[in-house]
């Protein structure tokens, strides 16, 4: 775990170093930059927040940028700093959402803006509680991986929210999303569940609905980009992290899921996944 100490908001000062790594969205937007500084690693979310990460002391000092809403600042820490520090210390965190189905966890792994939260919301609406909406934390125990519940604010695009809840919502911020307090309107699971299946969401938002089994090699290669890596130059840790994900790919069934990102298709997608899980369970 890493503790957060929040300092007063400040304008982001220029940094002398060039970033050694960046998070860039598929649209080319820089979401975060990683800088080495004498005190540790400085993670900068441009115009949103800075976090100075001191791994030796297990502390992150955060400075929200002026105008950054407190819940968004907290989300940057919980969904960015915490999983990276966790993986750095030998944990297993992936970018994705998950739901509980009959006491088992099913994960949807995908980059931001791929529909994973909306899909989890559709399952919740159908009675299957959400385990997490953005960060998957897995704790290995024997042959099982226990997916940890993370009840957080659920941030949905307002059109997704309108579809799921049948009414309209105001936009909270500039990103056209609305925040729901954890558990509000949609059920969240409060207990960890063993992971039984992973779905990797395809990037074609107009694709026809299709579910295809992935072999271990494909599962590993397609899961790797969704891990949180703090220091890409720390080769011993990268090696260990790679092996942890490889082991996950060997043990947990993995599927590629393509589907059209249309609200009127969501129920059909949910049904197809439920059927697929049942078939997989019966063939084990």
């Amino acid at each position: 775990m890493i503790a957060l100490r929040t300092s007063p908001a400040r304008a982001q000062p220029p940094l002398a170093s060039a970033p050694y790594d960046r998070w860039v969205t598929p649209d080319g937007e820089v979401k975060a930059e990683f800088h080495r500084v004498p005190e540790g690693i400085l993670l900068r979310f441009p115009d949103e927040a800075d976090f100075l990460i001191d791994l030796a002391r297990g502390i992150a000092i955060g400075w929200p940028a002026p105008g950054t809403a407190p819940d968004h600042y907290d989300s940057l820490f919980q969904h960015g700093v915490v999983p990276m520090a966790g993986n750095h210390h030998g944990g297993l965190f992936l970018h994705g959402s998950a739901v509980a189905i009959n006491g088992c966890a099913v994960a949807f792994i995908a980059p931001s803006r791929s529909g994973k939260t909306t899909l989890a919301g559709a399952f919740a609406k159908a009675g299957y509680p959400i385990l997490t909406e953005d960060v998957i934390e897995l704790v290995p125990d024997g042959a099982n991986y226990w997916l940890q519940p993370k009840q957080s604010n659920l941030r949905l695009f307002v059109d997704s929210a309108a579809h799921l809840f049948g009414r309209t919502f105001p936009v909270d911020e500039e990103d056209n999303k609305h925040s729901f307090a954890g558990g509000e309107d949609l059920p969240f699971s409060a207990v960890a569940c063993p992971l039984v299946q992973i779905y990797l969401l395809g990037s074609d938002h107009n694709a026809a609905l299709a579910i295809a089994a992935l072999d271990g090699q494909a599962a590993l290669v397609q899961t790797l980009p969704h891990a949180f890596v703090l220091d890409v130059a720390d080769k011993p840790r990268l090696r260990e992290h790679f092996c942890r994900i490889a082991q996950l790919s060997e043990r947990i069934a993995c599927r590629r899921l393509d589907y059209p990102r249309r609200y009127d298709e969501l129920l059909r997608v949910v049904d197809a996944i439920l059927t697929d899980i049942e078939v997989n369970r019966n063939t084990k």
């Binding site: 072999d215 271990g216 090699q217 590993l220 290669v221 080769k235 790679f242 490889a246 790919s249 060997e250």
Partner: protein, 93 residues
């Protein structure tokens, strides 16, 4: 590429066999690569210690049912690809 030139796996590569096929991660670049079952056997040889093209071809010929000239051609192509991507290093003579 000389038949007797020796190569070894780069120390910057971590490999893992998953369901019979190898996945390589180049720690320097963050890029990863998949190998088919024959490529996986070749990688096992390379990561066990330095070996030559000829030695690897001999090993593959002993294990797989394929014409020698086809094995030579395929192994040579894979070595060239791995070397271009800096996943294996050519040893000084």
């Amino acid at each position: 590429m000389n038949q007797n030139q020796r190569f070894q796996a780069s120390e910057d590569v971590v490999a893992r066999e998953v369901a019979g096929e190898m996945v390589l991660l180049d720690l320097s670049s963050g890029l990863y690569f998949g190998l088919d079952p024959v490529g996986s056997r070749i990688w096992e040889r390379l990561s066990a210690g330095a070996c030559s093209l000829a030695e690897v071809c001999d090993a593959i010929e002993a294990e797989f049912d394929a014409p020698r000239n086809q094995i030579d051609q395929d192994v040579r192509a894979l070595f060239a690809d791995l070397a271009n991507r800096k996943l294996i290093n050519q040893l000084a003579v």
